[in-house]
Amino acid sequence: MEIFLGALEVMGFGVGGVFLVLTIFYFLVKLMLRLFPEK
């Protein structure tokens, strides 16, 4: 049971973490496209 609960915890943090990091990348890309537009 302990391992299963541990996996659930990793799943929660993992899915949230991946979305969080890629959301940060999303805003960084948006920012870079605005700062350095193709002329």
Partner: protein, 390 residues
């Protein structure tokens, strides 16, 4: 008489397990040559399995060349890192940069990693009778997978060989052969795994949704150069354990995009990639010794690995459908399935499916955007798992 005995050692030590493993090696080679399933990996893996399972083989063991390669390139994670340099040099991130929203599909499709980790962990909920436990070589009360091993099994869902090897080596070295074979085999089977899942979760009308090729966005050279640097720094600060993985991937990409290292870029894409793939494959094959490979856990790993790919695809598509609820200009939900890292096969499959419904529909560019986002997503997922469990 002793000399005759030493000549017959190979025969006298031959067991049925050796026979099965030699057969598995031959099947992998057959799949690589005849079916062209990831031949660059499956052929060396198959041959490595043969070299390892010949009784008394000196290719493995303290001074065996395969063991030397294993210690030099797998234990210290050098081979997967070098592969990432090559992969980074091959990837063009412009489709992603033109449509950064595809990053979210790269995140959503990593769900399979965690779902399959949970499945592997849930095998511990079944209490095995003592007789079966001892038959499986488990201590009384011991589960089939520890939490770290379950995570290593789940990482097959990254659909990304180097990440699977990187995490597997750290958390489940005894299952690295099964994990790698599952990861690469199912990547090769993506054209068979993904279409039925995508079709089951989308309507014909949804599959016909058209998308702008690039949303009219042009990406400057500066952004292409800055992207790998910024991603490395940000990911590294958030999860320092991700630095080798994301750093090598982005280093390869920087070589490609900088515009002044064409020769190095070509070398990374070709010579480096080919050489390390060759060594990686045969070395992984050497981990498939009969006593380690022919276990219940191996069969579970192969089964859960397949489900991981199904979960990845399903969650990616469902996420795209969810996003569509809030968008005026709808996204073709099949793009969500491309968030799986298997690059560029997944994007090609979705393009093919879109054109089957409407021959004039081109979704390849956004599909590739989601696909390369999946490459980043899988590395980040691997790094987060390492950070949480190390």
């Amino acid at each position: 008489m002793d000399k005759l005995q030493s000549l017959l050692n190979g025969f006298t030590n031959f067991t049925w397990q050796h026979g099965v493993m030699l057969l598995i090696g031959i099947v992998l080679i057959y799949l690589a040559i005849k079916k062209e399933y990831e031949p660059m990996l499956l052929l060396p893996i198959g041959f490595g399995a043969i070299l390892t399972n010949i009784p008394g083989s000196t290719a493995v063991g303290e001074h065996g060349f395969l063991t030397v390669l294993y210690n030099a390139g797998i234990v210290n994670e050098l081979f997967p890192i070098l592969i990432f340099v090559a992969v980074g040099a091959m990837i063009d991130f412009s489709p992603l940069l033109k449509q950064p929203v595809t990053l979210f599909f790269g995140a959503a499709a990593q769900f399979g990693i965690f779902a399959s980790m949970l499945m592997a962990a849930s095998t511990n909920l079944i209490e095995l009778p003592e007789a079966i436990s001892s038959l499986l070589g488990l201590a009384p009360g011991e589960g089939l997978f520890s939490l770290k091993e379950a995570a290593a099994v789940g990482i097959i869902g990254a659909a990304d060989g180097p990440t699977s090897i990187f995490v597997g080596t750290k958390f489940a070295p005894k299952y690295i052969g099964a994990i790698t074979v599952a990861a690469y085999s199912y990547m090769a089977l993506v054209p068979l795994i993904q279409p039925p899942v995508i079709k089951a979760l989308t309507t014909k009308k949804e599959r016909q949704i058209r998308m702008d090729v690039d949303y009219g966005v042009k990406v400057s050279k500066t952004v292409l150069i800055l992207f790998p640097i910024v991603v490395t720094i940000v990911a590294g600060i958030i999860a320092p354990i991700s630095v080798p993985l994301i750093g090598s991937l982005m280093f390869g990409n920087l070589i490609r995009e900088c515009g002044v290292l064409e020769r190095l870029s070509q070398t990374a894409q070709n010579e480096l990639g080919n050489l390390v793939t060759l060594l990686l494959g045969i070395t992984i094959g050497s981990t498939m010794a009969a006593e380690q490979f022919l276990t219940v856990q191996t069969f579970l790993i192969l089964g859960i690995g397949l489900l991981a790919f199904v979960f990845d695809t399903a969650f990616g598509v469902l996420f795209a459908k969810f996003v569509n609820l809030f968008l005026k200009k709808k996204i073709n939900p099949m793009i969500g399935g491309c968030g799986i890292s298997a690059f560029p096969m997944s994007a090609r499959i979705v393009q093919k499916m879109a054109q089957k419904e409407d021959p004039t529909n081109f979704v390849l560019m956004p599909a590739i955007g989601a696909n390369v986002a999946g490459q980043i997503g899988s590395v980040i997922a691997g790094a987060i798992i390492l950070a949480l469990l190390s």
